[in-house]
């Protein structure tokens, strides 16, 4: 690490920190606006609202049927987390431990849904799901959300599995463990931290996954983020504060899981999927 102490470099550093500060302040001010508004009685043309109330939460709760929406949201998330864990960890294990013809192609296939934005592949996917009648149903929403999460789990888990010495598995075999015992007594305990991290990241991403859910959800299979979109889209029908109350509920749901996730993962992992992305 080399630090310059010339005036020019100090000015340069100051300019950079100013930019960072400007960004962070605006970010927090934006979030604070939503929170303040959700508690505001009347807020027009002033710095702060006239008064504060919590009644928008109860009205949002009933107007937007948030209880139902939340239940659907958590059911979708639970299903997505479970299925992507089961499919992703097994596939990652095979990809980490074996070299076989077509492996690079397969890795590329798993990389694509992470590189291509959901809206691009979501429209053809939604078309297929509408044709098969799955769209609008609970499982349709789950299936659509799995498209990026299964590859995500695979790519997070591959480096994690690779760093476990295969000799440890060989040792377990030599000392009498069959495949099942090897999994229960050796692999699962060693992989658990990685699985936990991957699945928490899946959870956080699924709560915020708007596009795919939007494209395939029906009235009874909407998740919270889609319900919020429709509420903002139809702004004017409901009070702004009511929408903001819903936005706060959404934020709290997301942030609780984010905080839990951050206990186990590095924040950069939310963006850079795997330590080393395979060359492509």
């Amino acid at each position: 690490m080399i630090r310059d102490t010339t005036l020019g470099s100090k000015l340069w550093a100051a300019a950079i920190w100013f930019l960072v500060g400007f960004f962070v302040i605006n970010l927090f001010a934006m979030i604070a606006t939503v929170v303040t508004s959700s508690f505001a009685t009347r807020w027009l043309g002033t710095w702060l609202p006239v008064g504060f109330t919590t009644r928008w939460y109860s009205s949002a709760w009933s107007e937007f049927q948030l209880w139902d929406v939340l239940i659907v949201t958590f059911q979708v998330i639970a299903a997505v987390v479970f299925v992507s864990g089961a499919l992703g960890v097994t596939a990652a294990y095979a990809l980490a431990r074996r070299d076989f013809a077509g492996k690079r192609l397969l890795v590329l296939l798993f990389l694509l849904p992470l590189m291509i934005p959901p809206i691009t592949f979501g429209i053809p996917l939604a078309t297929v799901l509408y044709q098969t009648g799955l769209a609008g149903t609970f499982w349709g929403v789950v299936a659509a959300n799995l498209v990026p999460t299964v590859p995500f789990v695979i790519l997070v888990m591959i480096p994690f599995i690779e760093q476990i010495d295969p000799k440890i598995e060989a040792a377990a075999r030599v000392f009498g463990a069959n495949t099942f015992k090897l999994f229960v007594h050796v692999l699962l305990p060693l992989l658990l931290p990685g699985i936990l991290a991957a699945l928490l990241l899946v959870l956080v991403r699924t709560i915020a996954m708007f596009e795919l859910t939007f494209l395939v959800a029906g009235p009874t299979s909407q998740t919270l983020v889609v319900a919020l979109y429709y509420a903002v889209f139809a702004a004017g029908v409901r009070a702004v504060q009511s929408i903001d109350a819903m936005a706060v509920i959404y934020m709290v749901t997301t942030l609780v899981w984010l905080i839990i996730a951050l206990r186990f993962v590095n924040p950069t992992q939310i963006v850079t999927r795997a330590k080393q992305q395979p060359a492509h």
């Binding site: 000799k167 440890i168 377990a172 030599v174 000392f175 009498g176 007594h185 060693l190």
Partner: protein, 361 residues
Amino acid sequence: MTIALSQFDEVRLDHVSRDFGALNALRDVSLTIRRREFIALLGPSGCGKSTTLNCIAGLLPVTGGAIWLDKSRVDTLRPEERGFGMVFQNYALFPHLNVRQNIGFGLKMRGRPKAEIDRKVDEALSLVRLQGQENKLPGQLSGGQQQRVAIARAIVIEPPLVLMDEPLSNLDAKLRLEMRAEIRRIHNELGATTIYVTHDQDEALSLADRIVVLRDGVVRQVGTPKELYEAPSHLDVADFMGFRNKLKGKVAGTDNGRAVLDVEGARISGVARESLSAGSAAYAAIRPDDLMVGEAGPNAIAATVDTIEYRGREFVGTAHSAGGLDFVFRSHQPVEPGSHVHLRADDQRVLVFAEPIQGRQ
């Protein structure tokens, strides 16, 4: 000592081969290991010694031949069905299990009652002198302690055969000597049968009852340490056994198990280790210990000193001849680099080998 190793008479490798694609890692290896023997598989890296061990352990399937434990064929069994103990190169301790759990792993897999596991693990702990460390995780142990856990884990299941894959290669020099003695002690106390893979001939010579020298996947020589040290059967084995001077010459004559070579005009006489015919190319192999600075005369060759190092009791130097041969020699007196000397070999200790056939073997 109640750790009782399963009884058997011999382990037999019967024409075992192992291919990796087109590469023959192991070619037609046949070997019989008797009960209570300590066998060292010795060779340079890539010679197939670890492949042999992994085939015996079941971690690599053999592609030809068979492995027998007395009358039972074992090469078709999965590793977990063979019941051998193994000490891995990097120990391969389970990082999430403590010392006690690591050692007891094999017994637990066999579904033994907890009381029995506890008793046997305690015995193993005392055998490898690790009492008091049983609740630590492998990451909290020193290299030597991890090594002891790996050994305890391998012997506590009372295996007919203990396999060790370069177990000392990750330890520093002092600890290596200490653990070498430990391994031999444990082997003797248990009356175990051990196959020990190493690339270090010192280790093999000091530990083993018999040494198997492998090269390019082929057994080159099997013998006791004394046989290998004194009478290597091929030039490459001799090279591995410390015959650092290999002087190429022409066979001038053979007589009754001895041969005389013409090396750059000098006459070098030694013990013929292979059949030689007069006029053919051959090598005289000499240990640095047996090549001394001395008088001109029989069994001496003229050379120019390149470097000289003080080694306490004596000097060790390098030199070259006018014809471009390189030497490593010994001297009681200091000699100046650049000086001309005569290097004299003990004719009872010079071995003469035929020129190796180019390519394989």
